[in-house]
Amino acid sequence: MASHSHHTDEFAHTGEIPKAQTKVIWKTFFILVAITAVEFAFAFMMDAGTLRNAIFIGLTLFKAFYIVGEFMHLKHETKGLIWAVLVPTVLLVWLLVALLVEGTFYGESVFNYFN
């Protein structure tokens, strides 16, 4: 009896379901696919080098912006939450770059000490 009344309750809910709003979601999907396609075009039509790597990293950050902003909904959260996530991430990227630059220099000086 109890389960029966539960079911009718569910059907009452089903009647009021609003229509899906998926326009932005699919738009974001096509942007992501397009950026990936552009990355492939660069991978095959351009010789490897610093410029190509810079383009790759730039496009990757674009993709990251759309995934975090739209799919993870961060763009529409409060300013406080956006900064709470963004500031540590920016510092992390700084740390990554610093470790790479300094680490490369340090590695080179250690390994080439006797040359």
Binding site: Q21, V93, L95, F111
Partner: protein, 248 residues
């Protein structure tokens, strides 16, 4: 009895829990901070990759004349050029492109599940969760193929100075280049694959809960949102792994 009632009164003061500055629930906020900490881990992997790569010579000849050697870091197009069912055909990065598409698509179906949850549409949540589970499992299958191909290697392999030939890869030696190349491949894509696997397990759990009406009775589908955040993060990590391991 009256004591219980006073105990259940919500705290509304600014300094005793009534204030919610980020306008998100505790669970979602903690998921964000967990993902932030997870980003630290992956950043450590990428830093290691960058340093290891810098410590090795870059290949300087033309891409056409490239051959596998422990002297230089391999060009990724030359390592990841196989496709299931097309043995011996040179399709650079085609399979990894397919994997990327599958993962982005799974991210979309995940957002659609979250969106359906906002509308309390149980059937749609189930449908999109199932699609997400399917694409996530497909990605894992692709990765299993990629790994087994990487481990088994190609027929040509790499010729050593003493005339012996190395086929495939393990943690100590590999046919593609310096040992660290294969090590980092296993660690970075393996760590990401573990995340995808955990994500699929979580998705299956919330799928069963959705089918059983747990979230419907609760009145909201926030658990789907939290798992969704995790799932998108896994997709995000793949975007970076894809760039730094396969493209650059």
């Amino acid at each position: 009895m009256s004591q219980t009632t006073t105990f259940e009164q919500p705290n509304t003061g600014t300094w005793d829990g009534g204030n919610e500055p980020f306008k998100v629930s505790y669970g979602k906020l903690m998921m964000w901070f967990f993902l932030l900490s997870d980003a630290f881990t992956f950043a450590a992997f990428l830093t290691t990759y960058g340093l290891a790569r810098h410590r090795h010579q870059a290949y300087e000849g033309t891409p056409e004349a490239f051959n596998f050697s422990t002297q230089w870091w391999p060009i990724p197009d030359k390592v990841f050029n196989a496709f299931p069912g097309f043995h011996g055909v040179d399709w650079p990065l085609a399979f990894v492109a397919l994997m990327t598409m599958i993962l982005i698509l799974s991210s979309v179906t995940m957002v659609l599940a979250v969106e359906a949850g906002h509308r309390m549409d149980k059937n749609d949540v189930q449908k999109w969760l199932l699609w997400t589970i399917l694409f996530g499992s497909m990605f894992l299958g692709c990765q299993a193929w990629e790994w087994s191909h990487f481990i088994a290697g190609t027929e040509e392999g790499m010729k050593l100075a003493d005339g012996s030939v190395i086929h495939g890869a393990n943690l100590i030696v590999n046919q593609y280049g310096p040992p660290l190349f294969a090590d980092l491949f296993f660690f970075i894509t393996g760590f990401h694959g573990t995340h995808v696997f955990s994500g699929v397990v979580l998705l299956i759990l919330i799928f069963f809960n959705t089918v059983n009406g747990v979230y419907h009775r609760r009145g909201h589908y926030e658990m789907v949102e939290k798992v969704g955040l995790y799932w998108h993060f896994v997709d995000l990590v793949w975007v970076f792994v894809f760039t730094f391991f396969y493209l650059v």
